[in-house]
């Protein structure tokens, strides 16, 4: 537990540093033994997992809402979002708080995502990023903006805005509701 806190602290520090320099730095995190990365400039902070307030009748991957210094912030589980097997929340489970721009780029929202653990901050030059190959159709590649290499592991770089654009899914939810009515 102590260790996890120290890691969080160190990474929070590195985020602050990264935000001062320009360059393509990514915060990498683990999800079911796979490595993913968020554009570090989108990361606001990292918090330990804590209990959230459930939202009734919401999308399955929305765990609930959290009080983040007075703002009500929705928390989403990325494992459920990616259709990965669900995991127990452990002390290393963390919430990455991200700023998300709406599709038309006018509104900024704050959203937290639950990931298994955070790993590191890596530097990936634009030239090192490979475009996403066509996977099996079952994997939703539209959320992945590219692939990079971190050490000897493959890193999937997540497009935050596309991934967390809930409006689309919400309208889907609404239309399902209407089908129920009929």
């Amino acid at each position: 537990m102590k260790n996890a806190e120290a890691v969080v602290e160190e990474i929070n520090e590195r985020i602050d540093n990264a935000q001062q320099q320009d360059g393509d730095e990514y915060l990498t995190f683990r999800l079911a033994n796979e490595e993913y990365g968020f554009d570090i400039l989108r990361v606001q902070e990292i918090r330990g997992w804590e209990k959230v307030t459930r939202i009734p009748n919401s999308l399955n991957y929305v765990k609930g809402v959290l009080n983040l210094r007075g703002a009500i912030v929705p928390i989403m589980d990325l494992r459920i979002r990616f259709d990965l097997p669900q995991a127990e929340y452990t002390p290393t489970t963390v919430v990455v708080v991200l700023s998300v721009m709406s599709v038309n780029g006018t509104k900024e929202r704050i959203v937290g995502v639950v990931v298994d653990a955070i790993s590191d901050v890596v530097n990936a030059k634009t030239s090192d990023i490979q475009s996403t190959p066509n996977f099996d159709a079952s994997i939703e590649i539209e959320y992945i903006q590219g692939l990079a290499t971190a050490g000897d592991k493959m890193l999937m770089l997540v497009d935050v805005d596309k991934l967390l654009n809930i409006e689309e899914d919400v309208s889907l939810l609404d239309s399902e509701d209407h089908e129920d009515d009929d």
Binding site: V52, R54, P56, N67, R109
Partner: protein
């Protein structure tokens, strides 16, 4: 020169709108024939500020228009002209047009130039001495549209000390260069020998030829800041091709008018968007001072507490408790003063009514006095904005349906002039607004017949007068024999009631046939805080707004009935009330109370229909600060917002009407 004036536009518009309000109120209060010159002066000053401001910010059209109004007001002020009803009417209309022009400038859309011209002509006609008025109008049109097709010869001779005031001639010339192609010829004759040269003086002057079709006012704007510190001569360049250019200009001038007509509707939408984007509030300095005092005390308490915390021993426990008590008190006081900042007197909403009543009563040939009281009652700014339309509707309703024609009134033994009373006051945690008229009241028979005819009530129903009066809030109900411009389009009282309910308030009617009606609106003081009842279901905590709660009861099995084996109802004082289980509507799995006897029923009311909301237990009552869920997430059915509880966790606030609608679906 390159100061960005745009940043001041918002302030200018706000001040000008206030000025317009002052003018409107002032004009309404003018005694015809025997007007007090001080009153006219107030109106004049407001007009003058608008003129000055709009000139500075380059809204030439507004400045010119106001100038004509000002001329008229000036003559009235000096007693050279009688204050006639005609003139006041025309000035009021001009105020409307100014407001429209200002809205257009704000949205950067084109104003309706036809109306403006017509009004200008009307004002000039009143001014009569078309020498005075006509000249101004001519100037108006000339100054805003004078342009010479070919360009301008500009002779610019700055005073020697112009640079001392921070104005750089080079920048001015650069700005001119942005307007069109320029040829600059510098005169260096005044340049002294080097030993005599004062480096801070300007010795140069310029002849500038500016090519292009540029309005004179645009060029003058460039020199706006240095007008008094230089000699400036502007002469249009005339060449042979001037004739066709002028014609071209004319055709161009007509085009925007057409465009304005077609873009009128979107302009309205823009306005809404712009208003939603930025609105500001004026706060009296007293309120701010209070707040600053409070913050000061809070800081002192905080430093005391942190001192105490540095080396805390149990002996200091009492001090700590004292300190915490102080902190709590200061926090609460501060919360109250912050809320006070959002409070504005309701006169902001009432002020439009004298004009409305005056215009409509003239139009309908009725004689009506409007009496307003309690205008200083304070209410949240958001509510003021939102209550405006429902209030207008109710007042129009009283005007149209309530007050009779003068002849009818005399026949009924009443004073020829009808009275509408607008009253506002605080009662408990609510603000109450009453609209009372001494008109004909509601005819219960007519309403009942109409309701039966519309199928709202089964024929032969026996209703009390109060129940009948309530019928007018039903959708699709309108008793007006003929549809008038003022009211009676069938969208009426039901919308009013819905709008007021969406603000967390209620509207009621009392009416006596032949004597008049009273509409009573009850509203919460603010939308930011509400009194809530915390309840628990499973391990989830929810807040029910206290206003929706009628009572909370524990029921036994013999009160419960099932409709068609499914829908649960219970009998409360001869009334069957449907039961809604919060756990099933919200899908809460671990609710403790499975049987209706184990938990509690909170009887809530939405749209006047009672309903029993089944929960595990009540926790307590508290004031909660409403936070938006939509800011970072989206709207959730059955939930109106969220709040943060004492332990920092989030609790959802239930939207009772929405919840009941959902339960019908389930």
């Amino acid at each position: 020169m390159s100061v960005d004036l745009e940043q001041f536009h918002q302030v200018f518009f706000e001040e000008s709108f206030e000025g317009l309000d002052i003018m409107e109120t002032g004009l309404m209060e003018l005694d015809l024939g025997a007007a007090n010159s001080e009153d006219i002066n107030t109106i004049f000053r407001a007009a003058h500020s608008i003129k000055g401001g709009s000139g500075t910010f380059g809204f030439q059209g507004i400045a010119d228009f106001t100038h004509v109004m000002e001329t008229l007001l000036d003559e009235m002020r000096d007693g050279r002209r009688q204050v006639t009803r005609e003139a006041v009417d025309s000035l009021l209309k001009s105020v409307d047009i100014l407001r429209m022009m200002m809205n257009c400038e704000q949205d950067k859309s084109d104003p309706d130039t036809d109306t403006i011209k017509r009004q200008l002509t009307e004002l000039e006609a009143i001014l009569g001495t078309s020498s005075g008025g006509g000249e101004v109008a001519a100037e108006t049109t000339s100054s805003s549209s004078t342009s010479s097709g070919a360009g301008w010869n500009i002779v610019f001779e700055p005073d020697a000390n112009m640079m001392l005031t921070g104005n750089d001639p080079l920048r001015i010339i650069r700005e001119l260069a942005e307007l069109g192609e320029i040829e600059v010829n510098t005169h260096q004759e005044k340049l002294p020998v080097f030993s005599a040269l004062e480096p801070e003086n300007c010795y140069l002057s310029w002849d500038i030829i500016l090519h292009g079709d540029i309005a004179e006012s645009v060029i003058k704007d460039v020199f706006l800041w240095v007008e008094d510190e230089c000699k400036l001569t502007l002469t249009p360049i005339v060449n042979e091709s001037a004739q066709p250019v002028a014609e071209e200009a004319k055709s161009e001038a007509t085009q925007p008018v057409k465009a304005a007509a077609t873009t009128k509707a979107p302009a309205g939408d823009n306005k809404k968007a712009a208003n939603a984007g930025s609105s500001s509030i004026r706060v009296s300095i007293d309120k701010i001072d209070d707040l600053i005092n409070m913050v000061g005390e809070l800081v002192i308490t905080q430093s005391m507490l942190s001192l105490l915390g540095e080396d805390f021993t149990m002996e200091n426990l009492e001090k700590l408790q004292d300190g915490l008590g102080q902190l709590e008190r200061h926090t609460r006081e501060m919360q109250e003063s912050v809320m006070m900042i959002r409070m504005l007197p309701i006169s902001f909403s009432f002020s439009r009514f004298p004009r409305l009543v005056r215009d409509l009563s003239t139009q309908m040939g009725k004689k009506i006095d409007l009496v307003m009281s309690g205008e200083n009652t304070e209410i949240d700014k958001t509510l003021i904005e939102k209550i405006g339309d429902p209030l207008v509707h109710l007042v129009r309703n009283s005007l149209d349906h309530g007050i009779e024609m003068p002849a009818d009134r005399i026949a009924a033994g009443k004073n020829e002039t009808g009275t509408i009373n607008l009253n506002a006051y605080h009662k408990g945690g609510n603000i109450v607004i009453e609209i009372t008229d001494d008109g004909k009241g509601i005819d219960p028979d007519a309403v009942l017949n109409k309701a039966i005819e519309k199928g709202l009530v089964p024929p032969g129903a026996n209703l009390s007068n109060q129940q009948i009066n309530e019928l007018i809030f039903q959708a699709g109900f309108s008793t007006a024999k003929e549809i008038t411009d003022v009211s009676g389009r069938g969208v009426g009282m039901d919308v009013v009631r819905k709008n007021i309910a969406s603000l967390g308030g209620a509207v009621e009617i009392q009416s006596e046939f032949g004597k008049g009606s009273t509409f009573t609106i009850r509203l919460p003081l603010t939308l930011a805080i509400l009194d809530g009842q915390t309840v628990i279901v499973g391990d989830e905590i929810y807040i029910i707004p206290l206003v929706s709660i009628v009572e909370s009861i524990q029921i036994n099995s013999d009160m419960i009935n099932k409709v068609a084996g499914k829908g649960e109802t219970f009998k409360l004082r001869d009334e069957y009330i449907p039961i809604v289980r919060l756990s099933s509507v919200f899908g809460i799995e671990n609710a403790k109370a499975k049987e209706l006897e184990d938990g509690l029923l909170v009887v809530v009311e939405a749209d006047r229909k009672p309903c029993g909301l089944f929960i595990d237990d009540l926790l307590g009552q508290q004031q909660v600060v409403i936070k938006s869920l939509e800011q970072n997430y989206h709207r959730v059915d059955g939930v109106s917002g969220a709040t943060i509880l004492g332990d920092g966790s989030v609790a959802l606030i239930l939207d009772i009407p929405g919840l009941l609608r959902m339960s019908v679906k389930h």
